[in-house]
């Protein structure tokens, strides 16, 4: 394509956007809203996922042994657990130490012992760390299968509830964004259709004097592409600034809410939004060109 022809297309597309300025704004705003929500959802899902992983990697397995196993057996079980695949660290907490920890919380050791008739009621237990948070459940089950192990605990419920939230969020997000995206797409189609309609005389004459199909189509294609690009550009900027704001607000409490501070994620998701919006715009105009611009 010649440079001055490209210039002509750009001018025509800009003129056409301007001619139906309210329609153009509505279409761009619709792209902006759906792309902003997409961005917000993406970051939300990423972060909840991140937090869940974070929690899980801090979660230990506590394996309580049967009360009456001798220390010798406890040590043997510790070796067995250490040999399990995925286990990184196993600490044996003897029942005496357990009692001490308890009494620090409840007062004197003697009182506790007295209350239980002079017998330490606690079992030995093992604190187990695993390499991969995803494997925590299978490791826990393997430990439970070892003879002499009474009970296995890990922060299963919290973590699983979080992952359930993530799953749920994903579906909800996909649904809402698909609907909004469809809305944006149809607004773009409508805008281009209107533009084609308001220029139908010109298009007609262009055909008669021998303009090529693509010469006629290009300005409309550009128009749709720009609507997508403008809308998603605004959305990406809003997502970027919004996320920075959230990070700043969370700032001091970051220990409890470990948000993703990686600039890469933010960069890629904003770029993704712009790409997505442009795609919506391009698809919308291609569709309109096929349907309404039979050249």
């Amino acid at each position: 394509m010649k440079l001055r022809t490209a210039g002509y297309f750009f001018r025509q597309a800009a003129l056409s956007l301007w001619r139906n300025v309210w329609m153009s704004l509505a279409a761009a705003a619709s792209v902006a809203i759906s792309m902003f929500l997409l961005g917000a959802f993406l970051l939300l899902v990423f972060n909840v996922n991140h937090i869940a992983n974070n929690l899980q990697s801090n979660v230990e397995i506590a394996a309580f042994l049967q009360v009456d196993v001798p220390r010798q057996v406890s040590l043997h079980i510790q070796d067995q657990v250490r040999a399990l695949p995925g286990v990184t660290e196993v600490t044996l907490v003897p029942k005496e130490e357990g009692l001490q920890q308890l009494s620090q919380q409840f007062g004197s050791e003697q009182d506790l012992l007295a209350a239980t008739g002079g017998v330490n009621p606690l079992p030995d237990y093992l604190r187990v760390r695993v390499a991969d948070p995803q494997s925590i459940q299978s490791v826990a089950e393997a430990i439970k299968a070892i003879p002499g192990v009474e009970k296995v605990n890990y922060g299963q419920e919290v973590v699983e509830r979080l992952f359930a939230v993530v799953r749920w969020l994903r579906w909800l997000g996909v649904g809402i964004i698909a609907m909004l995206g469809l809305g944006a797409l149809s607004l773009i189609v409508l805008t281009i259709r209107l533009a084609v309609y308001s220029r139908r005389r010109e298009i007609n004459i262009m055909k008669y004097v021998g303009a090529t199909d693509w010469f006629i189509r290009w300005p409309f294609f550009l128009e749709g592409l720009w609507l997508g690009l403008f809308g998603s550009g605004v959305a990406a900027l809003a997502v970027y600034l919004g996320y920075r704001l959230v990070l700043n607000m969370v700032g001091p409490a970051a220990v409890f809410v470990p948000l993703i501070r990686d600039q890469g994620l933010l960069l890629w998701s904003t770029l993704g939004l712009v790409a997505g919006g442009s795609l919506v715009g391009a698809l919308g105009s291609l569709f309109s060109i096929r349907r309404f611009l039979k050249v």
Binding site: R4, R201, E202, I205, Y208, V209, G210, A211, D213, F215
Partner: protein, 230 residues
């Protein structure tokens, strides 16, 4: 070989309208041809087939040695650049000056900008509208608007000019001027094909007349008259 050849051309529209029925005709380069016939005879259809707005259901149309129903989509614009088209209702763009209306035909076929001004001026001079270049269509008389449309049709130097009832909206005196203009364009080498109802014009010009009726070619006279009112 003739410039334009129709071989047994039939054009049907759904559901079962036969607009052209087995028409065969040859038109040579440089000819001036009237296409006559009552309303609904198939004149406009004939013209639309010529610049491939429609394709025939049967038969062949050859222009400049090429079958135009076999043209690829991409080749159709090139065919049309060699055919200037004029309509009864002028079809000028109301929001542009006469100059811009004519220049439009050059711009959209990617003519070099340097060539546009001299070529538009030449075309406007040829139709006698040099002093109306800056005016808008609504400021012109019907005859002047049709001249502007003719300038647009010839600015790209087409070998063929087709006109579908170009005088249909004009009074007799203005029609006469337009006919003189078309004759002049023809004299400079352009093949002119004109569909018309105006029997007085046809009778006075003594050009070739191709008559259609119910889609059939019923008469083809070298120096004919309109013939139906007679």
């Amino acid at each position: 070989m003739s410039l334009i050849q129709f071989f047994n051309v039939t054009k049907q529209y759904p559901p079962n309208i036969t607009a052209l029925d087995d028409v065969s005709v040859k038109i040579d380069k440089g000819e001036f041809v009237f296409l006559v016939g009552p309303s609904g005879a198939g004149k406009t259809t004939f013209i639309r087939l010529l610049f491939r707005e429609e394709v025939p259901n049967r038969g062949q149309i050859i222009i400049g040695g090429r079958s135009i129903s076999r043209l690829k989509r991409k080749e159709v614009p090139l065919l049309r650049r060699n055919i200037g088209i004029v309509f009864q209702d002028f079809r000028l763009l109301p929001d542009r000056t006469v100059f811009e209306n004519v220049a439009f035909a050059l711009r959209v076929v990617e003519t070099h900008p340097r060539e546009i001004k001299p070529r538009v001026e030449k075309a406007l001079a040829q139709v006698g509208l040099s002093n109306r270049a800056r005016m808008f269509p609504h400021q012109l008389s019907g005859g002047e608007q049709q001249r502007a449309a003719i300038a647009r049709a010839i600015v790209n130097n087409p070998g063929i000019l087709v006109a579908d009832e170009p005088t249909g909206n004009l009074d007799p005196a203005t029609s006469g001027d337009i006919m003189k203009l078309l004759e002049e364009i023809n004299r400079l080498g352009t093949t002119v094909i004109m569909a018309t109802h105006a029997w007085d014009i046809v009778n006075s010009m003594r050009k070739r007349v191709i008559a259609l009726q119910h889609g059939r070619l019923v008469r083809d006279d070298r120096e004919g008259g309109y013939g139906y009112e007679a």
